[in-house]
Symmetry: C2
Subunit: 454 residues, 2 copies
Amino acid sequence: MRSYIYNLDPKKMPDAWYNILPDLPTPHAPVLHPVTHKPVVPEDLSPIFPMNLIEQEMSSERYISIPGEVMDRYLMFRPSPLRRAYRLEEALQTPAKIYYKNESVTPSGSHKINTSIPQAYFNKVEGVKSLSTETGAGQWGTALSIACAMFDMECKVYMVRVSFDQKPYRKGFMETFGATVIASPSDTTEVGRQIRAENPDTSGSLGMAISEAVEVAVKSGGSVKYALGSVLNHVCMHQTIIGEEALLQMEMADDYPDVVIGCCGGGSNFAGIAFPFVREKFNKNLDTKFIAAEPTACPTLTKGPYAYDFGDTGKLTPLIKQYTLGHNFVPPGIHAGGLRYHGVAATVAHLKKDNIIEAVALHQNPCFNASLMFAKAEGIIPAPESGHAVCTAINEALKAREAGESKTILFNLSGHGHFDITAYEAYMRGGLQDLELDDESLSKGLASIPDIQE
Amino acid sequence: MRSYIYNLDPKKMPDAWYNILPDLPTPHAPVLHPVTHKPVVPEDLSPIFPMNLIEQEMSSERYISIPGEVMDRYLMFRPSPLRRAYRLEEALQTPAKIYYKNESVTPSGSHKINTSIPQAYFNKVEGVKSLSTETGAGQWGTALSIACAMFDMECKVYMVRVSFDQKPYRKGFMETFGATVIASPSDTTEVGRQIRAENPDTSGSLGMAISEAVEVAVKSGGSVKYALGSVLNHVCMHQTIIGEEALLQMEMADDYPDVVIGCCGGGSNFAGIAFPFVREKFNKNLDTKFIAAEPTACPTLTKGPYAYDFGDTGKLTPLIKQYTLGHNFVPPGIHAGGLRYHGVAATVAHLKKDNIIEAVALHQNPCFNASLMFAKAEGIIPAPESGHAVCTAINEALKAREAGESKTILFNLSGHGHFDITAYEAYMRGGLQDLELDDESLSKGLASIPDIQE
């Protein structure tokens, strides 16, 4: 019998997150204050984040220990399975070996819970009782709702309007765990009212929703803090638990990836699977290839300039050196809502600039096509975001078939598509558009990138 | 660190299904031909089932080996995790220890795939290219759709109309795997047209949907066979993989259940978790308690007489000695669609009659209340059907608290509620009725039980 699943013994689970900052081969551009444009100091961030997470954000330690209370919750569902996609390989008639981390079996149905649990925990120990956040397709909002329920905290979620309408079950899912869910932009914040006044028909964006959630925290006088589901260094770091486990599981499989693939919106899922393998590449001088897969409708890494920009539409966040389409960029309403972000994590951008990682942009129809093929072979319906990783893995496997060479491919199946069935139905009816990025939106976005002199 | 999950090594996975028939302490009532009322012979069943499954149905072998092709698909997701519900125990402040088999992480999101895979396989090896079936809440239809995709077969699903309307995502899920889904009763069969003519506003029932699916098989001249998701002996037997794994996992946890709980509609999920422990009870003279949890809206085991009845509304199936509310009984439209069945597996009924197992009936509001509590503690939203097992486990744990005694409880979390979010929303809004069973429906149902002289 062949082994499909490599289950890591919980006793062998990695007990620390990996911080890539100290290992970057070239210096990392400093994060700047949104008004003074001077490098931020911890106090600048304290209105929205607790100090312990700010310390993690700026840490130069290579490893951060996972606290017992967090590990206790992780052990409810981690280590996640590493799966060999034998049946997909057969369907593709490829000599390539395809492995994937199955993050779809976590309680939230995606990788996002890997950071929501520590974020809730670190806020809790600093006395915070309530968290506000944004969510795109709902994966992050769901994960934070579950984590808040685990630590008896309140949770308010601003959900991008287009996803709020496309994925009605997500709202109920979050409410089941006690969260409050609001379609963004909303009338509950100043920034939301302003955006709606200027653009009443907007379908929303992650940038807008972030502004709303940050405003709630800033105006709370300390009782509410803000939690972000991607982009920041501490978020990417929490996700490295995926790659750390995968390293041990690839060892169990007596194999090692030639290519590591993740879809990329804000970058945390990509960072999570890739960074521990990037470390190994550095340490052992390996020639592992890394591919971040993004949508053509929001081609941050493939079409954006490398520049300082805000993380949100309302310019409330610090300025981060990144690839960006501009904080005013509003991507078309593709179903991969979690990838509709104008920017990307500074570390991911930095590695891209240094050509340590690559990026590809994909249309949504080939991603759904690949996801359907994956579903029929592997029995799991991928989230539309994860579909970008699936499609990229399949493309790599087909290249290996053409070249007639064996190759080991590892990708992160970041979540399931149980709440995206209407998107699949639309695809099967032939009703999906490939939603080309129009020049006007792109120009408008790019024009909003501030001119920062370093 | 405490261990939440007991992952069985796939190499130690049980390699046979357990057939309880030869171990029953009293003789099993024969299954009768629907017209002649004589004990059925294999040939009677051959228009709807392949001969290899008929042999399993009637087998007196204690164990049936799991074929390699089936084991290969099982190993894509099995063994399923056994989880200790520490956080639920803490929330309940009970000295009881609660364990559950987590069947919600299978590709279909429920235990149903444990039998859909072998059923598709055994049909395939007899040359069958297409299967027809019924589904209630959609768990079984989903499972058969995935299994048919795995073996390149066609799949037609008759879905009970009330569930078809309540759970629209289920249809898309099944279609993603290539199945055809039809709301039942429909105009595509003679029996469907007849039922609609008599009762145009019917919300449908499993009994009606079975009749439609059976008719399709019977009239196909052999090209289509019928697959049933519960009730039959071979179906219950395939599900024993759950209990067989749980036995080994309880050993890993160095514990043994005092109480084993499963929700009960047709009985296969209950049989799956319970029968291997019933065998141990027989063999080792243990005093393990077994509880089958059913809805008060469809109280087959707690209010039905033990009598011969048809499995379907159209009287196309053989007569089975069982607890039954009558094949014409139409239960209220509770959200636990999978438990809306008038009858129950003959083996489960037999064990109930002999007082080897017990049954309880529950209203849907306490089940949703228990499920919300479970979700907040354990991070998993149970299917409404599984909510009956959750509620029963919680009740047992609370009894243990009152009595101040430690007790080990094991239940089967048969599936997740990702497609039942509207039901949770309705519950949270206070909009659920406890849907009492009205005397008229019950009388009408009971009156349809045929008078069979043994």
